[in-house]
Symmetry: C2
């Protein structure tokens, strides 16, 4: 967000959300947390993600140093993705938030349903 040339982030959360914000990154990170995975494994584990989005997200996470990519130079291609040490520090920092989300998941779901219902009502 606040990454214009002359500006810095207002707070640490702002910066952190630049690294893990968006629909897919936390899901990918969640699966990689349990150990290294190949591309195809991740694709099957992360339900609903397209190859294109998976590649894009992995590339971004790699460029942020959260994830490492190991190419075994084989044919058919064999590539393995794993969380880096830096990425592990992030997953550790995410633990409390993860627990909070688990604890309040039903509440969040109910709210989301209510918000959807209100939107549809407003749409007529």
């Amino acid at each position: 967000m606040k990454n214009e040339a002359d500006e810095t982030y207002t707070c640490g959360l702002d910066a952190a959300l630049d690294i893990i914000g968006g629909k897919w990154k936390v899901l990918i990170l969640w699966h990689l947390h349990s150990g290294p995975h190949r591309f195809g494994e991740l694709k099957r584990l992360v339900e609903g993600i397209s190859e294109k989005m998976l590649i894009q997200q992995l590339k971004e996470m790699e460029s942020h140093g959260i994830v490492s990519r190991k190419d075994f130079k084989e044919v058919p291609p064999r590539v393995e993705y794993a969380v880096t040490d830096f990425g592990v520090s992030l997953t550790e920092a995410l633990r409390p938030l993860c627990a909070w989300g688990e604890e309040h998941m039903q509440r969040i779901e109910q709210c989301s349903h209510k918000c959807e219902a209100e939107k549809q009502r407003a749409a007529g």
Copy 2:
């Protein structure tokens, strides 16, 4: 994200990011964390936010129960926003991530600059 009628979140982070994801919510929450604020105060504190976005984000945060809105029924209007108990539990859960972001802020900024530079190089 995963709030379709028949689906639930894959992990707690997924759910939590539904509550605080996006450009503005963490910044608003960060300012409200220090105590209740009126609309105009928040508008001045959160640099770069438009009234429209501030209203929209506050409304969403209120509907999620993170923020409370107290209308003093005065003219000119006087409304005060504060973090709820539920919101406090969220801010507590966000502390480690906030600290992580603070700790790695410069690294994140440098990476963002590099990504921008690469994008511009690719654009020609």
